[in-house]
């Protein structure tokens, strides 16, 4: 197998916790983060449940110590909080001591502010500062400034697979020697835009989401941010860094089937998993756990399930979707699930696929529904998005 790129730090804020430790405690104690929506006024508040971070924007501003005239979107604030944690966790004190970059991702960017002030801009010049926070790249600028990163900074936006692609690019930048160190991940805040978008597609569940269940009704949207610190072997050696895990494999493919629906047999998903396994130099028997995309929409779970069967045959590894805990956090999903994959490797534990009752009629796949302890060497994590974007990451133990 190929060792891959070292992960030396991670940070996260999600509906189930404001730190890596809080997220782990929630995942191992069935503490879910799905609730009714508090921070956004929407006519759908009684008919949807969300994975919301129960902190107001004012609380986030205070936590980051931002000046009153700041123009951070919620997306940027969540990202800055998680990225700061990751850098601290990696024991980095001088960010520019090594060639360091930031590859972030977002789908909504500053849409939360745009939708709030859309018409008001013409009446109130004090909010004009938010016009420039709309772009996806603005959140990354702000995270880069918060961390003091001045070199390579970019943002990927491939809908719900975005953060997987950010991690993938980061790993490739390290492998190519373009960077010694890179902060990778994603951030997305809840917004009326996405709530109404998924609502019109009729794939929002009015109750807790139930991945891989025959009666699944759709997804719960969520918000989150998570970042990993990736470092070159040389930095790890020189600094005597503790390696949390490795990014050993990655693959991206396009389903080329439909703008929003996945192909019946999960062609793109299958290709992404196949490429990732090849990069990692692993065989199907080596994967101990799949952290599935598992959004609980009828289309995703069927397509992903079929792709898993194509890849692994009748002996699919233990798999679960952690979205019943967090909701589907869109561009950030693959980043928070990367943190969960590392936690799985570190603690030799598989997190349960909650809310599962009835097996799907189309196949015999059964998700792991309770917390399971077993030695875990390699975790495969899937993320798929609009536009047929399919991404797979493989994380491997650090010994």
């Amino acid at each position: 197998m190929n060792q891959g790129v070292a992960i030396t730090g991670m940070g996260i804020i999600s509906a189930i916790g404001n730190t890596v430790e809080e997220n782990f405690t929630a995942l191992t104690n069935n503490k879910v983060g799905i609730s009714t929506i508090d921070n956004i006024v929407t006519i759908h508040s009684d008919s949807i449940k969300v994975g919301e971070i129960k902190k107001t924007n004012e609380a986030l501003v205070a936590e980051l110590g931002l000046p009153a005239d700041n123009n951070f979107s919620r997306t940027a604030m969540l990202g800055a909080i998680a990225a700061k944690q990751a850098v601290k966790n990696a024991g980095i004190t001088d960010i520019n001591e090594y060639k360091t970059g930031l590859i972030s991702s977002t789908s909504v960017g500053g849409m939360d502010m745009t939708e709030r002030y859309y018409y008001e801009y013409f009446k109130n010049s004090s909010i004009l500062k938010y016009v420039e926070s709309h772009d996806g790249g603005d959140s990354s600028q702000k995270i880069a400034d918060t961390l003091g990163i001045t070199g390579i900074v970019s943002t990927i936006s491939t809908a719900c697979s975005s953060a997987a692609n950010a991690i993938m690019l980061g790993a490739r930048l390290i492998k190519a020697g373009k960077l010694d160190r890179v902060i990778v991940g994603g951030t997305d805040a809840l917004a009326k835009f996405t709530i109404n978008g998924f609502k019109t597609l009729m794939i929002l569940s009015d109750t807790d989401n139930t991945p891989f269940d025959n009666e699944r009704k759709g997804l719960n949207l969520g918000e989150a941010a998570a970042y990993l610190v990736l470092e070159s072997d040389e930095v790890v050696r020189k600094e005597g860094k503790k390696v949390l895990a490795y990014v050993s494999g990655y693959g991206n493919a396009n389903d080329a089937y439909h703008q929003t629906a996945s192909s019946e047999n999960g062609d793109g998903a299958f290709l992404a998993m196949q490429k990732a396994m090849k990069v990692a130099g692993l065989g199907v028997d080596d994967i101990d756990y799949i952290n599935a995309h598992g959004t609980a929409t009828p289309n995703n779970d069927l397509s992903e399930g079929r792709a898993i069967i194509r890849m692994f045959g009748n002996k699919a590894p233990d798999f679960s979707s952690t979205k019943p805990f967090t909701g589907h956090t869109l561009a950030a999903a693959a980043a928070i699930e990367a943190v969960y994959s590392v936690l799985s490797l570190q603690n030799n534990v598989i997190f349960p696929n909650l809310n599962f009752k009835t097996p799907m009629s189309e196949f015999d796949l059964l998700p792991q529904t309770s917390l399971k302890h077993k030695p875990i060497q390699h975790v495969l994590s899937n993320s798929f998005g609009f536009g047929g974007n399919c991404s797979t990451l493989i994380f491997s133990k650090s010994e």
Binding site: E115, I152, T155, S157, T158, G197, A256, G387
Partner: protein
């Protein structure tokens, strides 16, 4: 460790560039502060039903990418990488307006579905049935250069043999009105608008879709070698020259080797300082060119700049309309591009003529 060559281009811009040799039909429009694209004949490339559904950027992206592939004589690609600063604004705005105006009721999903930033890359993949690598970058003025960087990494590691790389941005009315309100766009009273030298703050905005077919080999359609690309988030003005020299050195080149520089002058008097700092000092003896007076300024306008650089190496001609100084050379073998926006998202891109195509 393969090199990377531009073997096909397609350019939809505010100028007639889709059915021309180069800029022979270009005209400076100094009467409008938002320049919109000259539409190609979409029905030659896209079915009429699809034309009605698709946003401007998606349509233009499909045509520009088809042209790039056609020039290179390829029918499919290993990867599709796009950059867009603002994404699919038409559909985003349509959906957002509907949410607000109708209080979250009576919504249809079409515009939401087409609003994601990766729609252009996705629609190209769908049209080609291309299941390869498909990424979209959204980093303001380096959205397109991020795509070039990604592509060059994959050539260096021999992961791909060819790739479509493009920069796409579209203007949309309400957002333009917000940009005018916020002072990003020059005011009507300044007409006729002047981009270089700049006289005021703000830009003449624009839109476009520019695609490149990059391959790992020189062919009969090769324009130039994409010899290097670098993105820098924050670059203090006093460090720019040193950073430029470092970039050139990493690509086995010096300022004295440059035959021309393509600068991203955008009409904004503050942004201009960064360009002038290099143009009036270390680059003062080099042929200097600019292009945003033709394309308008937008996050991926630098892709239009690269198209100009590639065309110059290919034709060995510099159209007078893009000249920022009078220095001329006998040959244009090495061209540097430099761009930034508001002092952030700086990029250096280096093109070299390929000996076997001379």
């Amino acid at each position: 460790m393969s090199k990377c060559y531009i073997n096909g281009t397609g350019c939809i811009s505010a100028q007639r560039t889709f059915d021309t040799v180069f800029l022979e039909a270009a005209e400076v429009n100094n009467q409008e502060n938002v320049l919109t694209i000259k539409d190609p004949v979409y029905k030659n490339y896209i079915s009429p039903g699809a034309i009605r559904r698709m946003g401007k950027g998606v349509k233009a992206g499909i045509v520009a990418s088809s042209q790039a592939m056609q020039e290179a004589g390829l029918e499919n690609v290993d990867a599709i990488i796009t950059g867009t600063g603002m994404g699919c604004m038409e559909d985003s705005e349509k959906f957002l307006k509907a949410i607000i105006d109708n209080n979250e009721s009576f919504l249809t999903p079409t515009s939401f579905i087409q609003s994601t930033h990766n729609t252009v890359g996705a629609q190209i993949a769908l049209g080609l049935k291309c299941t390869g690598y498909n990424f979209t970058y959204v980093q303001n003025a380096v959205s397109f250069e991020s795509s070039l960087l990604d592509a060059s990494l994959q050539f260096a590691s021999d992961e791909i043999e060819n790739v479509l790389v493009g920069g796409i941005d579209e203007t949309v009315e309400y957002t333009m009105s917000l940009f005018k309100l916020a002072g990003y766009i020059k005011t009507e009273s300044e007409k006729p608008y002047q981009i270089f030298p700049a006289k005021s703050k703000g830009v003449v905005y624009g839109e476009g879709a520019t695609f490149f077919l990059l391959e790992n080999k020189i062919t009969s359609s090769t324009y130039a070698e994409l010899a290097g690309v670098e993105i820098i988030n924050k670059l203090p003005i006093e460090e720019a020259e040193q950073k430029l020299n470092q970039f050139l050195a990493e690509n086995n080149c010096r300022i004295s080797d440059l035959d021309a520089v393509v600068l991203g002058y955008n009409g904004d008097i503050d942004d201009e300082i960064y360009f002038k700092n290099l143009a009036e000092n270390c680059l003062k003896n080099i042929t200097q060119l600019y292009y945003k007076h033709l394309s308008g300024a937008y996050h991926t306008a630098s892709a239009f700049g690269l198209w100009i650089g590639a065309k110059i190496i290919h034709t060995q001609e510099i159209p007078a309309i893009v000249r920022a100084n009078a220095i001329a050379k006998d040959q244009y073998n090495t061209i540097l591009l430099y761009n930034h926006h508001k002092g952030r998202d700086h990029s250096f891109t280096l093109l070299k003529r390929c000996q076997s195509t001379t």
